[in-house]
């Protein structure tokens, strides 16, 4: 039961993230990427508390979560920098306007 709730939440977050990514606003795409990453984080936290051998929570899962939050921060930083530059070039944050390159 507990596993169903945790896994269900993680998969729901994953699906919401994928839905967000399919939108046209650049900021929303970046949010979607963060959501998918956080659904993975959630799974790591849950599995870390399940996979314990000696009565304590597995520190591996939790340390991975800390590191992956840092990685997510890097993705957001580079992504926001690209969005700022895209706004300077195209005067919009609508990703449908970025269609100079085709085929």
């Amino acid at each position: 039961m507990e596993a169903t709730i945790w896994l269900g939440t993680a998969f729901a977050l994953f699906a919401i993230g994928l839905y967000c990514v399919s939108k046209s606003s650049m900021i929303r795409i970046l949010f979607g990427i963060e959501m998918i990453l956080n659904s993975g984080n959630l799974l790591f936290v849950y599995f870390g508390s399940v996979n314990h051998a000696a009565g304590y929570v597995d520190p591996l899962g939790h340390s991975i979560v800390i590191m992956s939050i840092v990685t997510g921060g890097c993705i957001v930083a580079v992504g926001l920098a690209l969005i700022v530059n895209a706004y300077k070039q195209f005067k919009t944050t609508d990703s449908r306007e970025l269609r100079r390159l085709r085929w």
Partner: protein, 493 residues
Amino acid sequence: MVISPALYFLFSPLIVGILGIIADKLKITKLREIAAILVSLWGVFSVWTLYTNGINAGDILVVTIGGNPPLGACFEIDAMSIYMGFSATLLSLLVTIYSVNYMEHDTRLTEYYALLSALTIGMVGVAFAGDMFTMFIFWEMMGIVSYSLVSFRKDSPGPIEAGFKYMVMGSIGSTILFFGIALLYGMAGTVNFAQMSNALHGTPMNIWLYLVMAMLIVGFGVKSAIVPMHTWLPDAHPEAPSTISAMLSGMLIETALYALTRVLYTLYEPTAFSQTMAVLAFLTMTLANITALRQSDLKRMLAYSSISQIGYMLIGLSAGTMLGVSAMLMHVFNHSLMKGLAFLSTGSLVHEANTRNIEELRGIGRSMPITTITLFIALLGLGGVPGTGGFISKFFLFSSAIPAGYVWLTVLGVLNSAFSMGYYLPTMYKLISRPLEDTKEYREAPISMLLISIILAVLVIWSGILPATVISMAEAGAEALVNNLADYIGAIL
């Protein structure tokens, strides 16, 4: 013993960055470039040190950081890792030397060289990683650095658009990969390759293992441009500076393919993924070759050619035998030389003529003969003409599919390879044919750029005429992965 490689890993972008800032402040010319070249030379020597320290005799080197494998991070270096690391650092050295003249009119060069060495470290780190999470960290390092390098010339809309597209697709891929790693952690209780393989390899396939395999293929496949996930590549490679195109096309997509191969072979039996990979190989090479035929942009045509070469490499992965993987590794090395050479020579042409359109480049070969000849060698090698490295590795790739039962794949591969000459040969013809109207005067590229092109061209021909060294190294790598998996697991447990 491992001190020098460890220091290289930790400090090389930092050294380049700090020396670059000092060079800017004190106005010392060329200090930044010399530092970058020396650091990439250090990278080649580090990998060589590791290779001569037992890995050439078949040992597996394990370096743990912060505790033993279930908890600590871990590098596990075998013959296959060292092969990829050597290819990456060699290409990086040549590209760095080439950059000195190619990038001299750009600003923000300190950032450029620091990011270039960080990109190299990311690729070597993916090749050396001994657990999924270390691999993921280096994967992200490689990815994030390449997003910013693709959009390096941020003053024009093209690079920004290509970089944004690449960033979105690459990040979605790596986050899906992260989700897959989380599921694997739930199943195996660890993220270490050896321990995961011990827990999962050979167990009957169930729905979760198939789900994880799909996530791994999507996650790694986005960066290695397997066909349904390839759409970022034809935008990103032409818009990046030519040196970065050479790094991305020559090594980054192959590093992604290496990661896919390593993880699939460690976790699954080859029968589980063989047929999927065969279909993906067919799709990748065919669609990319057909699309490449109708390109008017020289670099974009080369980018599509990269995708089709990934398709050929997937044949080796789908064969599921040692022969297939060794052919794949051979093609990785040869492709890194050939595509590096193709993009660097194209860079010289584009640098001089300021256009990437093949029609407008018509006749440029008459005033830049040496660059054009090296480009010809690269294109002939990519098409698989005997006498170049491309022929040897393609021969091994196509013949590896027959014992695995994929005769149709061999036939289609040979047909595709012949078909691909349909866009290499007209390009070569246009480059040397008589110009249509006014003859513009072009100067031959500077000596350092020429020198790198000539070195790469000689290496391409060397690996075609005397392929024994490459074959033996690739076979050692494939044997370490496919046949001696028990040793790889035993080194940790």
